[in-house]
Assembly symmetry: C2
């Protein structure tokens, strides 16, 4: 099984009211020194076998992200870590 993570964030130029609401709440929690907060979606998919990169791009473009206002990043966490010797 292969785990794929797709992180979808609003494009930098797009206003993020959710993030702004969190940023405004932080001082009330005593958290200072935060310049910005941006909130997006993290989508974890489990594939039976390792999918093609092109298939993942199509999936992200057509279903998981709105390419007009969002950017996405695809990562395969398990494959990022070097295989430990068995």
């Amino acid at each position: 099984m292969t785990r794929v993570v797709v992180d979808v964030m609003l494009k930098p130029e797009i206003l993020d009211p959710q993030g702004q609401a969190v940023a405004d709440a932080l001082p009330r929690l005593g958290v200072t020194g935060v310049r910005s907060v941006r909130i997006g979606r993290r989508i974890e998919l489990e594939f039976e076998s390792t999918p093609e990169r092109q298939q993942l791009d199509e999936l992200a473009d057509q279903l998981l992200a709105n390419p007009v206002i969002e950017d996405y990043a695809i990562s395969l966490p398990e494959q990022a870590i070097p295989e430990e010797a068995a």
Copy 2:
């Protein structure tokens, strides 16, 4: 400036209707072989200086995640990458 990423996901035992909806839609897009889909939040915070780990844990526990049904993971992307020689 220090960028902190907090990934908030539903606990594994909690039903994820959003993820289920995406999983059901995938075959219509011709994407097969997906065993599960889970959707969570990715929160990116920019701090003026590197915050204490304890401060980040409190922030995640009290504001960003609901500890009853969600788990969170905190990462500092820039610090995960070894500094390149200037």
